[in-house]
């Protein structure tokens, strides 16, 4: 249970730091809305093609906002050599990974809570009652993104051109999550419930579980000097 | 655009790429081994001198 208490401790520290500096959340939020406007101008969403366009646009917005969040993820540790302070301590590296993943997840979920309804308003889409289901699927996709994103944000911590390298490594690995999330959202939009997109949902859940466990196990070598 | 054109195109590209890679690999290996030989040669006398 020590693992959990350390994870909670680190998570609270990150939240406190974020409340004090308030830079990641606001920048991610404004970046997300900015992307929505950009999409609105560049695509004329004919009502009938809404079903397959909306999920792709939403998910693209979240992907790029998440990447922005990942770049900021270890900033708190970078200042004043705090990462060294954590590595010095008897902290379980897996707990550190879980804390960082949950922190980034919370940031992205907060952004998504605002962006999805805003998306509905901007693109004046009809079926409002589907938003909760959509949000659930997006949540699963975001978990997958945060797990691998945090892992590779830590891996590229010491690399040159960090901000460029991270998306380059991350996006090919995210292909299953991108495809699965968009297919599930499309199914929900088109016929109200998952139906034939269930295997996609299983793939998504499998992805999250596999890489969360692998991440916790492997994080020892990722963060070590 | 006979079918043979595409076959030769594909085979040509693949085998020339592999050939080029093989040659560069050979050259890099040769250069590395000569450097190794020089290092061994130059560090031998020094090692003896030191003992």
């Amino acid at each position: 249970m020590e693992f959990l208490s350390q994870a909670v401790l680190l998570f609270k520290k990150d939240l406190l730091l974020e409340l004090r500096r308030r830079e990641s959340l606001l920048t991610m939020f404004f970046f997300g809305t900015l992307l929505l406007f950009v999409f609105h101008f560049s695509f004329d969403l004919a009502p009938d093609r809404i079903a397959e366009m909306a999920p792709a646009l939403l998910w693209l917005a979240f992907l790029f906002t998440g990447t922005l969040g990942l770049a900021q993820l270890f900033e708190g540790e970078r200042a004043n050599h705090c990462l060294e302070a954590l590595l010095l301590s008897p902290m379980d590296r897996g707990a550190f990974f879980v804390a960082k993943t949950c922190f980034n997840l919370v940031l992205m979920v907060l952004v998504e809570i605002v962006i999805i309804p805003l998306f509905w308003i901007l693109f004046n889409l009809p079926n409002w009652e589907l938003v909760p289901d959509l949000f659930l699927v997006t949540l699963l996709g975001t978990v997958g993104f945060c797990v691998l994103g945090t892992l590779f944000a830590a891996v590229t911590l010491k690399a040159r051109a960090r901000e460029l390298l991270l998306p380059l490594i991350l996006f090919p690995l995210m292909v299953p999550v991108i495809l699965a999330t968009i297919r599930c959202m499309e199914a929900i939009l088109r016929n109200g419930e998952l139906g034939d997109a269930l295997p996609w949902l299983r793939l998504l859940v499998g992805f999250d579980v596999i890489f969360l466990t692998v991440g916790v196990l492997i994080f020892d070598w990722v963060i070590e000097f | 655009m006979g079918a043979w054109y595409f076959v030769f195109l594909a085979y040509g590209i693949v085998w020339s790429a592999i050939l080029i890679y093989w040659l560069t690999l050979k050259r890099r290996l040769a250069r590395a081994e000569t450097e190794l030989a020089e290092l061994c040669a130059s560090s031998e006398p020094q090692a003896n001198a030191k003992t």
Binding site: A161, I169, L179, V214 | I13, Y21
Partner: protein
Amino acid sequence: MAKISQISGKRNGYFGALALVSILLGLYWGLVQAPPDAYQGEVQRIMYLHIPSILTAYLSFFLVFVGSCLYLWKREKRDDILAYSAAEIGVLFTALTIIEGSIWGKPTWGVWWTWDARLTLTAILLLIFAGYLMLRSLTEEENRGASSAAVLGIIGFLDIPLIHMSVYWWRTLHQPPSILRPDKAPWENIAWPLLTPLLLNLAAFLLLYFYLLSLRFRLGEVNEEIKALKLSRDF
């Protein structure tokens, strides 16, 4: 892995000669001896190149995975050299696979690039490989780069089945899957007379692959020895 590194220069030569002979044999059999395919005609001969190079690409990704796991576990330089040698050759073969795939696609589908499941999968594989090599070269500190690349090697390999599934499901939504169907092994749905050249070429490719790998491995080891010698000289 110790076996490969013991192959001295001379024995490497025999290995190379053997690979060369089998390549020429495969070429002759595939291009001249084998009858053209029933409905695809001559273009089918690219298949003798395409399937072996895909399998070698998959093999090299597996070797990267094995090398990365061993390196993280035992921290021996040798496993790391194996991993990035396999990665380097893997990138070459994956790129060639994509080129062959598009050349083969032109006469059969009339377009240079089709979002066929196999080609998309190979393209993603190439991106992951490229990410692996980029990560290794952009990380300054030596063994930090090695362990970061090892992590990507492992995660990348574990991700392949998921990518494979998602790309094929995505593909079957739009058009029926092509020859390399996931449910049946490639050689089941090919007529017998075409099979022997395919297997011959496959053997040739594997021999070539291991020959190149042993050369690249040797290069990695020599570089390592040079660094060790320089270090020990001013110890």
